[in-house]
Symmetry: D2
Subunit: 291 residues, 4 copies
C-alpha cells in the first residue's frame, strides 16, 4: 500500500554533521514508500544534495502535501511559520535531544514514520500570532510569531513603561524589563523563564508575562486569543520588539504593537500515542515517580 | 417603565451591622421600580425582616428572575453555586470594600441598579467545577466549586504525592504540600498565592497550581475545561480535599478526585461599562501610571 | 602513621539492605587505620553487629573524637543535632545518591577517608536553631533544629495569621499557609519549594519564607542569626509547628514560637577539595555548560 | 545646648519645585541650632542659593561632619557612594513619598532633627560593592555600587551566558537575560523584581539573582560579602554591565566582572525609634493587620 502523502518536501536547514547522509537516508526511505520527493531550496544549497527536485517554501506550500523537517524545534517553528498559510502539515525528525515538537528520534524514524505515512497519526494544530507595529495610525512593520512577541527595554536603560489594552479596554500600565506575549507553544520557552505558566495547546489564549516587573502583583495573565492585544510604548529608552526572535528595533514612544490570532494554524503531526505531557515531563525533568 | 426583572430575591446572609436597614432600603427601592420582592430564608431569619414573602434557595431558583446579593464575594459565590442550575442571574451590592464580583457600592446602588433593572447590563458567565471523590470505583462524595478544588497534605505530615491524569492520560506525579485546581474565578484567590497566573473568565480552562512543589520545574499549568482531570492520592499521611472550602477529610491512598466542568454557569450581571481589568487593577493595587 | 582520630563512632540507623556488611567493612578499615571503634546503640540493635563496644549518643559525645555516619542527609542531620553540644565532628558515607552533606560515596570511601583520618579535611560548621514554644510567659516545649522551624495552618482550615517580631520589633503580620524559618542548611530543603533563596553556609542568617502568602509582596526575607525571632499565633484553626519534622501540634492563639541561634555548631568534615557549589549544581541539576 | 555636628553640608541636587525654599528653611534652622552651613556645589548651582560657603563633594568629605540630603533615595545613594570614603554620616529629608533610606518628612523635620543634632540617633551603616571589569588580566573599568552590579544581555539578542566563580571556585554557568549582584540595600530594588529575597542590612552578604534564567532551578543565592565574586562573559551578543545604573557597555567574551566588598561603609543616620521593618511594611504595602 502506498503513502497517504504523495508529494513530500524534505527540509533541514542546518549543515550539521551527518545532516546530508540523514536526509539522503530519509529520501531513499520515502521513495520506497511511494512518495515523490522535493528538497527545500536552502536545504539543497547547504547540503549539496542535487538528486531531487528543488522547491522554495512557497512552491512547497502549493505543491506538497507533507513537510518533513530534520532538525530541532527552532527549524520546525521557522518553517511552520511560513507553511501555515498553505495548510501543509509537518513532521519533525530530530538527530539530537528530542524537542517539544520534533519528537521523532532519527534512530527510530522508519518504524515511526511508516504508519504515519499511511494515515495513522495525531494532528496537533497550533495557532500563530499575527503582529504589527502601528505608528501614527500607520502599520510600519508586521510579522507572524509561533512562540512569542516580546517587548524589551534598551540594553542598559532602566525600565520600559508599557500600556496594555485588550479590545480597546485598558488593562494595565506596566513598568518592567519587558513584556512577553506567548502562545501555548511559546509558554514552554522564554515566558516560562519569566515566571509564566505552562499552557496546554488546546487553550485558546495567550499569556502576558512581565519580565522583572516593578510592581510585585503584576502577575502573568492568560487572555483569550479572540481579542486584540495592544501594547503601547509609554516610556523608556531604546525599546525594541521581537517576533520569535525577529527584531524591530527602532520603536518610539507612542508606537503600538498589535497582536491578534493569525488566520492560520500550523499543523504538526505526531505518531499515534504521542502525548504532550510525556514530552513536558521529559523536557522539564519532572520526576515521574512510581507510575 | 417597569423593571425587566419582575420577581427579585434579596439575599444577604450575614448579620453585619446595618445589614437589616440596607436590605429594607433596597427592598423599598425595588418595589418602587415595580418588582415583586422575596427574601431568602436564612436572610430573613438572620435579619428578622418579615415584611416580604420568604423563599428557600430552590424556590428562588424556580420563581425568581433575579437574585440581588448584599454582601461580599464569599456570599455571592455561595449563593451562585446553588442558583447556577436554575439560571437565575445575580447582582452583588457591597457595603464594604468592593470585591471581584460584588462590584456595586451600596452608596451608589440606586443610580447603578436603575438601568440594570431596565435591561442595560453586562452578563459575566462563569463555569463551575463538578467534582467527586471516587473510591474503589464508587463515588463517595461530590460537590460543586466556583473557585477551586484543593488537595492538601495533613497538618504536620510531610508532603503528599499525587498522580495527575487528564482524560486518562498521565500528566505528572507531584510531591508537594498540595495541588490547587482553580477556575478563572478562583485564579485571583488561593491559586494566586501559590504562584498561579491570573486567568481571564473568557478562557475555557482551569489552572493546576502545586503548593510548594518538591520539584522546582513543577510549574502551574493551564488545562482545557473540556477534559476530565483526575488526582489520585499516591502517598502522604491524612490528606484531605476542599471544594471552595467545603472539606472532605478522610481521603485514603488510591482515592481519586475527579474534576469536570459543570453543566451550569453562574450568571453575574454588571453595570454597562464594568471592566474585569479595572477590578483587577484595584484589587491587586497595580499602579495605573500616567494613563 | 596512625589516624588523627583515635576513637571513632559508627552510626547508621536504618536497616537498609547491605547496611550491615557496609558497616562491618568500614569498621575493619578503621581498625586497620589504628582507630578504636564504637557502635552507636540503635545501629548495633538494628544491624545485629556485636563485635564492638556499644555506646549511646551521650557516651559517643563524651568518648569519641569522630562520628562516621553511613546513610543519607536525614540520618546525618538527626545525629548532628544530638552531637553538636559535644563538638564531635561528623563524616557522612552514602550508599545511594549523594546528599548535600553526605558526600562520600561508599564505593570510594577508603581512598577518600584515608587522608581525612590523617587530618587532611575541610571543616564545614553549621549553626543550629534553638527554638521554644512560650505560652503565657512559660516555656511549654523546646527543640533544636538544623534545617527549619515551620509554623503550619491546620489541615483543611484556611490560613493562619502570624505576627512576626525580631528582637522585640514588629516585622509583619502574615496571613499564609504557614511560615518557614530556615537555616542555610535548610535553605535547600522545604524553604526552596516555598520560593526562598539558597543561602551559603557562611552567611550568619536565617530566611523567613512564607508559604502561599495572601499578600503577594510578602517575600522571603533573610535576617541575622544574632537576633531573636518571635512568631505569635494570631488567628487560624489548629496551627502546629515543626522543628526539623518534630511536631508540636497543640498550638493556641497567643502562643509564641521563639527562635535563637543555638550555642552549638554541628561540625561536618569533607575531603579537601569538596565544594558546596559542586554539590549544589549536582543536586539542583544545573547545566554546567561549556566550562 | 549646641549641635553635636558643627559643620553641616546641605545637599539637594534636583531643581524640584520648592526645593530652594526648603533648603533655605533648613539652613536657617541649622544655623539657629549652632551649625556652620556649607552648600554642595551642584546644589548651589541648581538652586541659585549663594548665602553660604560652597564646597564640592571632596571638600565636604574633608571639612563637614554631617551631610543633610534633601531628596529621594536616588540622591541619597548617589552622594552616599561619594562620601563613604570620608566617613561623613548622612541624614535624608524627603519632600515627597518617604523612601527606604530618606525617612524624614519635610513637614516634621524640625521636631525630628533636633534630637538627632544633639546626638540622639540610630546609625545604619551599609557596605558598598567595589567592582571592576578585567580584560586580559588588566583592569579596564572600576566603579562603586550601593545597590547592585547588573550584567545584561544586549537589547534584542537572546540570552547571555555567564560563568560565576567565588574566591576562584566555580559556582555555575548561567544562561539568562542577566544577573544581578545586589547588596542588602539593593535587595529592595531591581533584585526584588527578579525574584530575589529581601536581605536585612545586618547581613554580611550579597544576593545573586538571575533574570529570567533558562534553568528553572537557577534560584537566587545569598553569598558572603567577604568573598570575591567573578562573573565571566562566556557567550551572548552585546552584553553590558551596570553599577548602580552607571553603564560599561562594551563588554567582550572573556571579560570578567569582579565584585568585592568596598573598604568603606556609608553611614546613614535615623531618628531613635526608626525601624527598617516599619519602612519595609509601608513601601511594600504589607497589611499590618490587627497589631
Amino acid at each position: 500500500m502506498s503513502s497517504k502523502f504523495r508529494h513530500v518536501a524534505l527540509i533541514g536547514k542546518y549543515q550539521a554533521q551527518g545532516s546530508r547522509s540523514a536526509l539522503e537516508d530519509i529520501a531513499r526511505f520515502l521513495i520506497e514508500q511511494g512518495c515523490d520527493i522535493a528538497l527545500e531550496k536552502d536545504t539543497a544549497q547547504n547540503t549539496g544534495i542535487t538528486a531531487h527536485s528543488i522547491l522554495d517554501v512557497a512552491q512547497i506550500g502549493k505543491q506538497c502535501d507533507l513537510g518533513l523537517v530534520v532538525g530541532g524545534d527552532g527549524t520546525m517553528l521557522g518553517i511552520g511559520r511560513q507553511l501555515a498559510q498553505f495548510g501543509v502539515p509537518l513532521v519533525g525528525i530530530n538527530q539530537g535531544r528530542l524537542g517539544f515538537i520534533t519528537d521523532i528520534a532519527f534512530d527510530d524514524y522508519q518504524t515511526t514514520l511508516t504508519p504515519m505515512l499511511h494515515g495513522n497519526y495525531q494532528e496537533d494544530p497550533r495557532w500563530m500570532m499575527q503582529a504589527e507595529v502601528v505608528r501614527g495610525g500607520q502599520s510600519v512593520f508586521h510579522a507572524t510569531a509561533m512562540n512569542d512577541v516580546v517587548v524589551n527595554r534598551g540594553a542598559s536603560a532602566g525600565m520600559v513603561e508599557l500600556r496594555v489594552e485588550i479590545d480597546g479596554r485598558f488593562v494595565a500600565n506596566q513598568r518592567a524589563d519587558g513584556l512577553i506575549i506567548a502562545s501555548p507553544t511559546g509558554s514552554t520557552a522564554y515566558a516560562l523563564s519569566a515566571g509564566g505558566p505552562l499552557i496546554h495547546p488546546s487553550i485558546g489564549g495567550w499569556v502576558l508575562a512581565p519580565i522583572a516587573p516593578h510592581t510585585l502583583s503584576n502577575r502573568p495573565i492568560v487572555l483569550s486569543d479572540k481579542g486584540e492585544i495592544a501594547i503601547e510604548i509609554v516610556a523608556g529608552r531604546d525599546p525594541s520588539v521581537n517576533f520569535d526572535m525577529q527584531t524591530f528595533a527602532s520603536l518610539r514612544h507612542g508606537d503600538r504593537i498589535i497582536v491578534r490570532r493569525s488566520a492560520h494554524q500550523v499543523r504538526f503531526l505526531h505518531p499515534v500515542g504521542w502525548s504532550y505531557f510525556d514530552t513536558l515531563r521529559k523536557k522539564l525533568h519532572w520526576n515521574e515517580g512510581v507510575a
